[in-house]
Point group: C2
Chain length 376, copies 2
């Protein structure tokens, strides 16, 4: 049978012409998701729905899974690939048949043009080391990882870690994103932070956007990424207010002061950070979500209810099955930066959260001290 | 006894020299609060604590009361002056002995240098008419009245009404201010919007500020005043999300989109409006308070739970003892402006709130339609 000449092969999924198919395949973008927890699985689901729809992407989305053996004896990757569902971290949600779980990191990233990093932040340094030399030179990356560390010499941004270790460009995606709600296709928003290349940011936006998940690009990697970390400190403050039963007025005031300090701190660290970023989903919306629900708020509430008599360590162990609260450690890291740079007086809320967490001040200090209004 | 020469008479409260006392009195600022509802009574309490403390003010704060007869047969003004408490609108809270209730508007404003307007907004036009010619020419005014009307030709700002009718300068004070929480001296914040004179704004800040009530001046009367009105439309949207049980993620997204539309609408009406105003208490904090608690949110939640089958009129009658929701009427007014100016497509959330309120769209449209993301 003589091959037909196809003007637009992309619109012909049933094309039987091997030459044309292979040629197209060479130019299609391959996406790999590095990580497969709760949020990673939802990210894979979002992406997989788009790679099927958009002809410029390979249908298949490879998802690197840190292999585990399930109580049934089955490997987690086998279970995911058999059920098309992450039975451990996102049960009940179909990921899309084009999501392929892979326990081998090297194999998972092999040939990928776009890498989505969504692991616990403490794993990233090790993963980057393993990936050196294993990925293409022109790969684009995005980090969905919240909870970078704020070190004395400045924040240790995950996007910077990825860029520097792998020599590639790295965007970030943050926002008011409770994974389980997005998995159920409830309406939500997110923000992509990019450094220079708007076209790449648009490509990420296309890859993640669905009718129920609206993604906006913002040229401000640092601002977007810092929002995702600093909001946890404000959530601790909001939890104290809840525990003290001070009402919605006080809680709103504390959230507003927290947002002001998030903005001021980010801008003092990076002069490029934009005010407008804090109006995006990664800013005010994520702050609202985190201060209404969320672990940090919840444990801080319990801490305040105990009058500060029970320690965060004790409450975390009881309420979070051994997980640690990011807000408490971030507050400590931020305090060290403030103290080291002589900025403590400008950030009464951030400073007070840490001092309450370590027992130097009672929970009620959150309002008494945040009242101090420095001119920034 | 020969009179002593006093270098600084203000620091001598026990001065028995009649001449000096009268001379000082002439130069002290007299404050009158026009209105004595829930928020008006709290405002009088805040102000009265400061006029006692600050030597540049007359101690006495006169409060105009729309006279009523209580069930006991006693006049409301007599009850207030006898108990030092607004037994009808703020029971259980002492206003300060220097608050004097006065049922006679002319007498209440006589000799006042600073007027605080805090009545229901529909009374203001009549009150202004009655005050023409009764007040000093250099009187300074501030409006605490939320809920100006948004007319086709632009918003009918209460501060402008006061300025134009009385020929005086008028600031505004707005914020996340649940009157009963501030009456209990719970920590809160507010924003003073002023036009040009920073010194006058600072004077208002001093008059209202207490250790638990932090006031910030902002040179943006229109932005501050519009926040106080437009947030009620967003609260209706937030109530729909609650009624549909869509979760914190979606609610935060809708609140963020609402804040974006508040900002865009205000800036399209007044080019002088500043982005930074929306980070103040009058912006993001008041929005949070109103979307967490509040009547507008509550009735909108009930409306959505009924699937839009019960009308707002019916629910208002049942839930609010005949009071009307400002959010529903503001949404209608805003819709008329948007429609008249051809701006509907830029404000999907504002437009959709009105269309749901009048039954043209189901409550679920709040997320389906707000998704549309116009470039503003």
């Amino acid at each position: 049978m003589a091959p037909e000449i196809q003007q637009d092969g992309e619109t012909l999924p049933q094309n039987n012409n091997t030459y044309t198919r292979d040629h197209e395949a060479l130019h299609k973008t391959k996406v790999t998701v590095v990580g497969s927890g709760n949020w990673g699985s939802v990210a894979a689901k979002l992406i997989a729905s788009n790679t099927l729809r958009l002809s410029s992407f390979h249908d298949e989305v490879r998802m690197w899974v840190f292999e585990e053996t399930l109580p049934s004896g089955e490997k987690l990757t086998d279970a995911i690939n058999r059920n098309n569902e992450n039975v451990k971290y996102l049960p009940g949600i179909k990921l899309g048949k084009n999501v392929v779980a892979d326990p081998d990191l090297d194999n998972a990233v092999n040939g990928a043009n776009m890498l989505v990093f969504v692991t616990p932040h403490q794993f990233m340094e090790g993963i980057c080391k393993r990936l050196v030399g294993k990925i293409k030179g022109d790969v684009e990356a995005i980090s969905l990882i919240k909870g970078m560390e704020v070190k004395m010499e400045g924040p240790c941004m995950i996007s910077t870690l990825i860029s520097e270790q792998l020599g590639i460009n790295c965007c970030v995606l943050m926002g008011a994103n409770i994974a389980n709600e997005i998995a159920l296709e409830k309406f939500s928003e997110a923000t992509v932070g990019y450094r220079e290349n708007r076209a790449i940011a648009e490509k990420w936006v296309h890859l993640f956007s669905t009718p129920y998940f609206i993604v906006t690009p913002v040229q401000d990697v640092e601002g977007v990424e810092l929002c995702g970390t600093l909001k946890n400190v404000v959530a601790i403050a909001a939890g104290f207010v809840d525990g003290l039963e001070m009402g919605n007025n006080t809680k709103a005031a504390i959230m507003r002061i927290g947002l002001r300090e998030m903005k001021a701190f980010s801008k003092m660290l990076f002069s490029s950070v934009k005010d407008s970023t804090f109006f995006e989903s990664c800013g005010v919306a994520d702050l609202i979500t985190t201060c209404l629900g969320g672990r940090n708020r919840k444990v801080a509430e319990a801490f305040a209810r105990s009058g500060g008599k029970r320690s965060f360590d004790e409450l975390e162990a009881e309420m979070l099955q051994g997980q640690k609260l990011q807000g408490v450690s971030t507050a400590k890291e931020v305090y060290e930066v403030l103290s080291h740079r002589g900025w403590l007086e400008f950030f009464p809320l951030f400073a007070t959260v840490h001092e309450i967490c370590i027992g130097s001040l009672p929970p009620s200090a959150i309002v008494e001290h945040s009242e101090r209004k420095p001119e920034l």
